[in-house]
């Protein structure tokens, strides 16, 4: 959609000698420099660190040996696959619980008949701005079999027998933690979808009503296709956030991610390896190898989304 102005400017530029547009470089420089200094250089030095190993107090280049240990030596690979498996489950719980609930809440919020809308919106969003540590400790206390309110609340409705020390049982701990994380972050998909729903023009909805599409079927047939790009963005944000997660597990279960490593995810595994734990001395090189593997996993996931899904999403212009 080039206006006539564009053509005019272009012909002028061709006519005179192309001036050097210094201002572009000047305006880009701060962002490029800062981003390079705090993101790109550390990223590449992590990749580089993963290719070295400490031999007799000096760093020696060892090629892919750290990766061979990580994937080939059962001492490390078992832990890695366990962490990856747990991490995937952590992600799945978010996808099947957090995002549908977020969409549902957004749909309810955008209903014109709802009163006290901004109160609900704020109340649901507040946990998102809490620190992981606060959320982790609060839930640890709520679920504590000794002083927690969870057993008493269940007792009130006569379901005390359903109470379990969830964070201490291998079968439940990871799912419990994933649900805590869902509780904390459900505000983000809600807000994004809510914004997407608000941007649907009223004429479109009125037209749908004229065609007799109202209520639930209006949501499924008109609104949902229009917010699919937003759902895609949310999925990818969830993916990146989950595979980088660390804080919540560390705050509630500690670096050994008990019981019996059932809540160990890539972040805690990397932390333990990189910084060491108790008598286990830190191994920054192998830790960097794990960080690189995490980076690769996220990169692959994001690429699949970008090239496989996002391009096929149909966008509607209003």
């Amino acid at each position: 959609m080039r206006g006539p102005g564009t053509i005019e400017r272009r012909s002028m530029a061709q006519a005179t000698k192309k001036p050097r547009r210094w201002h572009i470089a000047v305006f880009l420089a701060p962002a490029v420099l800062i981003y390079t200094a705090i993101m790109i250089i550390p990223l590449f030095s992590t990749l580089q660190l993963a290719l070295y190993s400490e031999v007799e107090n000096s760093q020696v280049f060892v090629g892919l040996q750290n990766f061979r240990a990580l994937f080939g030596d059962p001492q490390w690979s078992d832990q890695f696959w366990n962490a990856l498996k747990n991490n995937t489950w952590f992600f799945i719980v978010h996808m099947i619980v957090q995002n549908p609930i977020g969409i549902l809440l957004a749909a309810l919020l955008s209903s014109p008949r709802l009163r006290m809308r901004s109160f609900y919106r704020t109340a649901i969003f507040i946990p998102t701005i809490l620190s992981f540590v606060i959320a982790g400790f609060a839930w640890k206390l709520i679920l504590s079999p000794l002083w927690g309110v969870a057993p008493n609340l269940l007792d009130l409705v006569g379901l005390r027998s359903l109470f379990q020390p969830w964070l201490g049982k291998e079968a439940y701990a990871l799912t419990t933690l994933a649900l805590i994380s869902v509780w904390q972050f459900v505000g983000i998909p809600m807000m994004l979808i809510y914004a997407a729903l608000l941007s649907i023009p009223d004429e479109l909805l009125e037209a749908a009503e004229c065609d007799g599409i109202t209520g639930m079927s209006q949501f499924w047939k008109v609104k949902l296709p229009l917010i699919l790009p937003a759902i895609g963005i949310i999925s990818i944000l969830t993916f990146v956030g989950n595979f980088n997660a660390f804080d919540l597990i560390y705050a509630t279960q500690g670096a050994l991610a008990g019981p019996d490593f059932s809540t160990d995810i890539l972040g805690t595994f990397m932390f333990r390896t990189f910084f060491g734990f108790q008598l286990q001395l830190g191994d920054p090189n192998l830790g960097a190898a794990i960080a690189t593997a995490m980076f690769a996993i996220i990169l692959i996931g994001v690429s699949i989304y970008l090239f496989g899904i996002q391009r096929r999403l149909r966008r509607y212009q209003f």
Binding site: W147, F163, L167, G168, P259, Q278, L279, Q280, L281
Partner: protein, 418 residues
């Protein structure tokens, strides 16, 4: 020309300034993870030293315990670490010595006040160099609510059989949870469980050294049995102990809801402060009456000198004082539960601390088995012990299975065990 004169002037001022500082007091900074002890250092220990050694000023600069190793390593690499370094036992400090960050202190005069066992935690494997002055050890045992015991008419148990009889009796009565211990933080099960009662089975140093030399295996009876005992504790613990964390256990006991606390002596100061009932302590029960008893008397904290310090003389003076009887008595009395490793007799005022230390007379001391040499490889034996002990306590793993996991892990990298 102008430039170089200016530089020369600048250099002269700077050199002059440092020269003057050196002519004045020597200043020493102590790196430590014991931020809980800050006031004790500032109000008791440092003034006592400075009174005797005018001209040396000491500052205690602790960092958070969980970050200490990482912070210290980066400070040492960058050359900004303090003059005196508080030493973790065994490999963490040994690696600092091997990297040239700590100096050999074997020729320090007061080093002779310590036994070889005390020095082992901060010596090279062959014992040729000792790089930290031993400060304190912690002893494991069981602390109990003496009022509750009196109320129920029970005596502290001596043998294993009596121990379970006591637990059973408390459970039947129902007023108290028999024992406060959780599986969530894992280290309770390993430290206060396995390595607390274990020495009576593997005969302390004898078993520990045999494990290092490869003569015994973790799957041998004497190493599996204590795991089996831990498995039997589960019915006597609080409801939902699987999700009970270490601070939960402490609170459960100090609030008077639990009768027995499998403990380390470091709890003494906290419990004295928080519990409003009478406290008592008993050593880990022996298998049969009259058996020789063993206790875990674990070397926990020492102090050494930064090899790059500018005040080496002053630092050595300070370290020598740490090795003296005066320091031993000051430290042990300010921090009941951290027992001096000095061979000199130290009088302590706290009755509970006296009870703990009295076990040294009849029982043989040993340290935790995983700490020397055996935690150098992957998987880390001590981390594995946390995991396995907690699993066994929760009943998620049979003791034999747990022991096999420990042994397989150790044999995976430790040659004498292969």
């Amino acid at each position: 020309m102008m430039k170089s004169t200016r530089l020369a002037l600048l250099a002269a001022t700077m050199l002059g300034a440092t020269g003057m500082a050196m002519a004045q007091d020597a200043e020493l900074t102590i790196e430590s993870w014991r931020n809980d002890d800050l006031t004790i250092w500032q109000e008791k220990l440092i003034p006592a030293f400075e009174a005797k050694h005018p001209g040396i000023k000491v500052t205690f600069a602790p960092s958070a315990p969980t970050e200490y190793n990482a912070v210290l390593n980066s400070k040492l690499d960058a050359g900004t670490a303090g003059d005196l370094i508080t030493c973790r036992p065994f490999d963490a400090s040994l690696s600092l010595y091997e990297k040239g960050h700590l100096t050999d202190l074997k020729d320090l005069e007061n080093m002779s006040n310590f036994s070889d066992v005390a020095k082992a935690a901060w010596s090279t494997d062959d014992g040729s160099a000792t790089f930290c002055v031993p400060m304190a050890s912690v002893i494991h045992g069981f602390i109990y609510n003496a009022d509750a015991f009196e109320e129920l008419g029970i005596e502290p148990p001596k043998t294993n059989e009596e121990f379970y009889a006591v637990l059973e009796k408390i459970k039947e009565d129902g007023t108290y949870i028999p024992m406060a211990m959780g599986a969530k933080d894992q280290w309770e099960a390993a430290t206060m469980g396995y390595t607390n009662i274990g020495p009576n089975y593997w005969k302390g140093e004898e078993g520990r050294l045999a494990l290092i030399s490869g003569e015994q295996k973790l799957t041998d009876e004497q190493w599996v049995k204590p795991l089996g005992e831990i498995a039997k504790w589960a019915p006597y613990l609080g409801d939902g102990f699987e999700a009970q964390a270490y601070p939960d256990s402490q609170n459960l006991f100090t609030l008077g809801r639990a009768a027995i606390f499998p403990a380390g002596s470091w709890e003494i100061a906290i419990f004295n402060d928080q519990a409003d009932f009478k406290l008592g302590a008993f050593p880990p029960p022996v298998q049969n009456a009259g058996d020789e008893c063993y206790i875990s008397d674990h070397t926990d904290i020492g102090i050494g000198m930064n090899a790059k310090t500018e005040n080496a003389e002053a630092a050595r003076t300070f370290l020598n004082w740490v090795g003296s009887a005066e320091f031993a008595s000051l430290y042990a009395n300010s921090l009941p539960g951290f027992f001096s490793l000095s061979s000199e007799t130290v009088e302590m005022e706290d009755p509970l601390a006296r009870e703990f230390v009295s076990w040294r007379e009849n029982c043989k001391s040993t340290i935790r088995p995983a700490h020397q040499i055996l935690s150098r490889g992957t998987p880390n034996l001590w981390n594995e012990m946390w995991n396995v002990s907690a699993n066994v306590l929760r009943g998620a793993q049979a003791p034999e299975e747990g022991a096999k996991q420990l042994q397989d892990g150790l044999a995976g990298w430790y040659e004498p065990q292969q």
